[in-house]
Amino acid sequence: MAKLNMVQAINLALREEMARDDRVVVMGEDVGRDGGVFRVTEGLREHFGAERVIDTPLSESGIVGAATGMAAYGLRPVAEIQFMGFIYSALDQLSAHGARLRTRSRGRYTCPLVVRTPYGAGIKAPELHEESSEAIFCHIPGIKVVAPSGPYTAKGLMLAALRDPDPVLYLEPTRLYRLIREEVPEGEYLTELGRARLARTGDNVTVIAWGSMLERVLKAVEPYSADVIDLLTLSPFDAETVLASVRKTGRAVIVHEAIKTCGLGAEIAATIAEDAILHLRAPVLRVTAPDVPVPLGKLIDHYLPTAEQIRAALDEVLQY
């Protein structure tokens, strides 16, 4: 089995699904001839042609809006937004239309659209190129939001997203694009949407993370007996797996690189409070970025959650 990085794994998923299903079309800024700025779509245009791998004008609202129309007509568009910080002009099309097509047509139209975008900090770029604003999208009913944590889940989630009948926002942790290599099988395997993965098992504490933070969490928790939940689908998130683990361990720490206020961690903590509060032996803690725009350069060290901060939170709940 080939050891692939995440860029290659996503590329493989797209390649296989495009070969299997001619409704799948890829579109975005420079995704065709240039293969995308991170080269995720490299080679697809040569293989599947310019009709199916479409270089669009620089127009995010247009990309997502047009993809919504294509999806409503039965195609399976995969729209790339070059960086998550560029997605906001497309937010209107996604939230006002893509997300509501099914409900507005009372189930007669669906919107099997995948919007891919690199997200997250740690690539030494400024603010808009390092955004982690998943919570905004988790707040929109009708869209599913997923974030792979490595090459293996990247392929499985992409295939599942492509087969899903609803719009899926697929967040690619930019920092991990070429950082991790894993064995990624050829051929079909689906990472079920809405289902979290137990990345590590333990007894004393549950750590919940996703995307680029998972790698950092796994390193940080090595000396602890911890359940580590790789959320994978951020909306709707797998409350069942989270609650089962918290009922077992009695402690929960949520780690995300997005800012704290109204982050997804707040929703998870509230869910734990609603459904498992009597199992808790300590307050639920969040390790997150501070409530500021992503800072530049060296200051990023004071922004992204560190292994020390994660361990400090674990110690706090364990010693509570």
Binding site: D55, P126, H129, P290
Partner: protein, 325 residues
Amino acid sequence: METKLRMVLPDQELLKLYEQMFLSREFEESCAEQYTKGHITGFLHLYSGQEAVAVGATAGLHRDDYILSAYREHAQAIVRGAEPKRVMAELFGKATGLCKGKGGSMHLFDPAINFMGGYAIVGGQFPISVGLAFASRYRGEDRVTACFFGDGAVNQGTFHESLNWARLWELPVLFICENNFYGIGTEVHRSSALASIHRRTCGYDIPSEKVDGMDVIAVYKAVKHAAEKVRESGLPYFIEAATYRFRGHSMADPGKYRSAAEHELWKSRDPIPGYAKRLLEEGITTREALDAIEARCKATVEEAVVFAEQSPWPEESEVWEDIYV
């Protein structure tokens, strides 16, 4: 026939244009080196090749006119009056930078020189230009807002929204499109139904013209004339400057989508040596005088690098600064 340079500007001003273009090029090429060394990180979009646009246009504007640009804006800021060393320190992410080392290459900003920002979101600056122009008219100021952008930006909704508003509300905005013919790797004719960008403005009843963006004098004359028109009429105007970037979209882009022949053709029209030749031919300066200017620019850039290297990093507490009052 080309206009004689002395008919356009006095000698000292003509030489200043040369110095600004040469300084811009030196600065950008030094940035490339510092990026390779890892001193500048992230995404670095260099202006080499396009100097005649920023330099000619800025010379055609008043000092109190607003300038907004996109993310290829180091030269725009420096030519407008930002200190090169503070721009370099900003690119390094140092505390002494133009924006405390917190904005970086794409977010230069200095209200003291009416440089109202580099914008990393393509087309983000259009509506802000409209708002600035509205505010200056509201206050009864005689100020033009010059909004620079690239050919890629003209397909964003904000472009069309803002042209309409500028004309509808009769606002003094001078739109300056730096058409370098590529939005990253996509040629203008593959992204725009009407590739002749200045002709798009007829839908908004905004007069427009195209100018040779490799000719600093042509840009200067066009912008000066246009800015006067905008100031007198209070109405928007649109200039498309045809230019070329000699490097990739950013330092991460090898730019393989452009043919060597095309590249060479544009290189032969490099605005800096071309202008030097004119200055010499028309007897405005001597080779020795140009050498002295060039040496001065090189020294300025070297000082900027040393300043940036020796400057401190921002304190951790800076993460929390400038978010709210």
